[in-house]
């Protein structure tokens, strides 16, 4: 796979210089590949958001660098191009919608790109269609549920036709059902539209569908690998204050009861298949 984002020795601290400097990122090295679904997890305050905000140059590194499609985020002349490639969706949908009408909000990004009106209209239509929210076109965000608002926010990013979408804990304010629906959409955007996805989350339910994941703690990457590889590192996961997927917890409990189950079960389907073998 092609390398898309490359993070080189990145460090960042908030309030540098005075007494209460907080080191948020400490020597991060990582790569994101074109078309992959990467999950970034870790407790609140582990540095996930700070890292994500470097991907499109919203924050500038104290030292080190981030390359996006070969361009450095420190290069001011390339910033507009980088932001066009990488869309971002944030935690609270209310704080990222600009306009009081859905369709106008979705148009905000393409308008900023200076596209001609017809192109903007067709992109807005396409984005709303892709996310199945055409019926909300003329609504006001104030009348929508949190889940719907978050879909509008994603549509607004999608209309800019990014190559990669970074989602910073997008399901925090959602109820469990909207959470599942949003996840399905993210997976679809990745598989059908070929969009690179970087999902920041602390819900293990959402992590199990990714291709690769990294676990952060205190501004450093502690574990990385496929979900299967990562969830086998039981003691480390516990130490980092994270959960296990329910299927993994269940499998561990059943192994304790003397059942012969493999150690790398993370999804419901895997667990059921293995249990059926024992029957």
């Amino acid at each position: 796979m092609d390398k898309f984002i490359e993070v080189i020795n990145l460090t960042y601290s908030y309030r540098p210089g005075n007494g209460n400097e907080v080191k948020a990122l400490n020597g991060i090295n990582m790569k994101v590949f074109k078309g992959e679904f990467l999950a970034v997890t870790g407790q609140n305050g582990s540095g996930k958001s700070t890292l994500a905000r470097h991907f499109n140059g919203l924050l500038k590194p104290r030292s080190g660098n981030v390359l996006v499609g070969g361009f450095s985020i420190l290069d001011k002349n390339r910033l507009a191009e980088i932001r066009k490639m990488i869309g971002m969706v944030f935690q609270n949908p209310d704080n990222q919608l600009v306009s009081s009408i859905v369709e106008e909000d979705v148009a905000f990004g393409p308008e900023n790109l200076g596209l001609p009106p017809e192109t903007i209209r067709s992109r807005v239509g396409w984005a709303l269609e892709t996310l199945n929210i055409e019926n909300l076109r003329r609504e006001s965000p104030n009348n929508l549920s949190e889940g719907q608002k978050q879909l509008v926010a994603i549509a607004g990013v999608l209309a800019m036709k990014p190559e990669c979408i970074v989602l910073d804990e997008p399901t925090t304010h959602l109820d469990p059902r909207s959470r599942r629906e949003l996840l399905e959409i993210i997976i679809r955007l990745n598989r059908e539209e070929g969009i690179t996805i970087i999902l920041l989350t602390h819900f293990m339910k959402e992590v199990v569908f990714c291709d690769r994941m990294i676990v952060m703690d205190l501004g450093e990457i502690k574990i990385s690998g496929t979900p299967h590889e990562v969830f086998e590192k039981t003691t480390e996961i516990v130490r980092l204050g994270l959960d296990f997927p329910v299927a993994t917890q269940l499998a561990a409990g059943l192994r304790g009861k003397g059942l012969k189950l493999p150690g790398n079960i993370i999804t419901t389907e895997e667990l059921i298949a293995q249990l059926c073998l024992l029957k």
């Binding site: 209310d94 600009v98 905000f108 308008e111 903007i120």
Partner: protein
Amino acid sequence: MELTKNITLGVYLPGETVIHRLDPRTKIIIASVLIILLLMIKSYPAYAVILTFLSAVIFMSGIPLSYALCGLKPMLPVLILMWVFQLFLYSNPDSKVIFSFWIFTATDSGMHMGNLISLRVIFLFTVTTILTLTTSMVSLTDGLESLLNPLRKFGLPIQELVMTMVIALRFVLILAEELDKIVKAQMARGVAFDRGNFIQKTKKLFPVFLPLFINAFKRAEELIVAMEARSYTGGKGRTKMKTLQMSRVDLGAGFVMLIFSAIVVLLIITIKPQI
């Protein structure tokens, strides 16, 4: 307690009436002319003409009258206070005394002044309410931007100002709802907002406004980041999805407004002012 219930300013009531369909620029111009006229009027007959005009507009727009006026309710105490002030404090040389007690004297010119100022406030409020109830914020700001655009030649940041307005208006409701929750959260901890003297009451607002401001700043900060991430760098190089288009209805409305203004101006010139 629902704080957002009586806020009608900035609320859009969707509809398909003629008033709704007018180009926002037409509506802004008409509203501005009405406001200028209102600031010039000093006699009751002219107000009667405006009243007729506004009644017709409200009727045509399909807004329930009670709803169009309910935004005035919270302003009522201020209006009454203002009226009383005018009644006792304003007088001109040939005014007649209605009654007096202690050091206060109420004159007829004071009463007229009070009436006219109250009417002016009520009408100004109604004009802006009708405008916002029938025009979505987005088209309102589109219209404003298009009308003010010539001023950009003088270096005024029109697009940025308009964007600021769009956002402010989007957050009015959000913050009002937030205020409602904060008030309830503190009521749940035993704050009695309706008790105590002025100083005590003012002190009680502290635990309400502090969280409100902190949250508002937090929201603003997040919004700025989100806008930046969506490639916003100010008005330069921005295009618009929608382009405004005037139609025959706008022409008609302009014509009606012209005749109406002529009548009002005529009344202003010919009728001797009440004060």
